[in-house]
Amino acid sequence: MTNPRGVKVFGMWLFLMSDLLTFATLLVCYSALRFANGEWLRPFALQPAIVFSTVMTVVLLTSSLTMVWAVAAMKEGDRGATAKWLGATILGGIVFIGLHLTEWNHLIHASAITPATLFGSVFFAVTGLHMAHVAGGVVYLSVLTAGVARSKFNEEDIETGGLYWHFVDLVWMFVFPLVYLMAVQS
């Protein structure tokens, strides 16, 4: 068994910290724009928009739980269970992206909020960057799943993938309240 706190895990932490700065910059700029524009658009009704985004949040949280179980299964040397839980995590990511794209489509066509508006540019930049991270995570975990099934990769590789996935979840814990809940119709 390899050391799960090796150089790959350390490298992932460094990457995540730099990525954290990217999201922090975006969210701080979003907050500054909100302060500077008193009449900030509040397009989200509790039903269906906030209910919809709450479901997205629960889906992402659930995919984090299945990722924890994938890492735990790999630590026990159970590659079959690892591949199964990684598959469940990937499914959660795909469902999240599907729900997100549905929401974007609704916003653009029903509410006429496009990236050309101030709210739209901020909203699509923040949520788009996050969705790109989720899509990247789906590809990353798919490669890990294929490798695990063929007896490639070790415990540290799965732990490293888990760190990335949990980080994507962690960032959403700030995006959801600041971008969605603070823009609920009054």
């Binding site: 706190r5 932490w13 460094l14 910290m17 954290l20 700065l21 922090a24 910059t25 701080v28 700029c29 907050s31 500054a32 724009l33 909100r34 302060f35 500077a36 524009n37 008193g38 509790l46 906030i50 709450t54 949040t57 629960v58 949280l61 659930t62 984090s64 739980l65 990722m67 924890v68 179980w69 890492v71 732990e159 888990g162 760190l163 949990h166 980080f167 979840d169 962690l170 814990m173 700030f174 959801f176 309240p177 600041l178 809940l181 603070m182 609920v184 009054s186």
Partner: protein, 88 residues
């Protein structure tokens, strides 16, 4: 079992956030409460799901420079946002 409890707590905190929006909490109070809940949820994810609790030594010193930059960004940019809003 602990991980399932953490997940349940995260979902519960998310529902509390939604409830704050539902009861139409005052914006200033709401942003303060939402940020507090977000940091609590982020800490729970990092501590249990990312296994920060198992790290020896804990890489908290690694986090400090990044925290410094994040707080610095807030201090530099937010006053500009407030000032620009007041100038209208």
């Amino acid at each position: 079992m602990t991980n399932v409890r953490v997940w349940l707590a995260l979902v519960a905190l998310t529902l509390i956030e939604v409830a704050l929006a539902w009861v139409k909490t005052a914006p200033g109070l709401m942003v303060a409460l939402l940020l507090a809940l977000s940091f609590a949820k982020a800490a729970m994810i990092a501590w249990w799901f990312m296994h920060l609790k198992d790290y020896r030594p804990k890489p908290l010193l690694l986090l400090l420079p990044f925290l410094f930059v994040c707080v610095g960004l807030l201090l530099v940019l937010l006053p500009d946002g407030v000032r620009a809003g007041a100038m209208r």
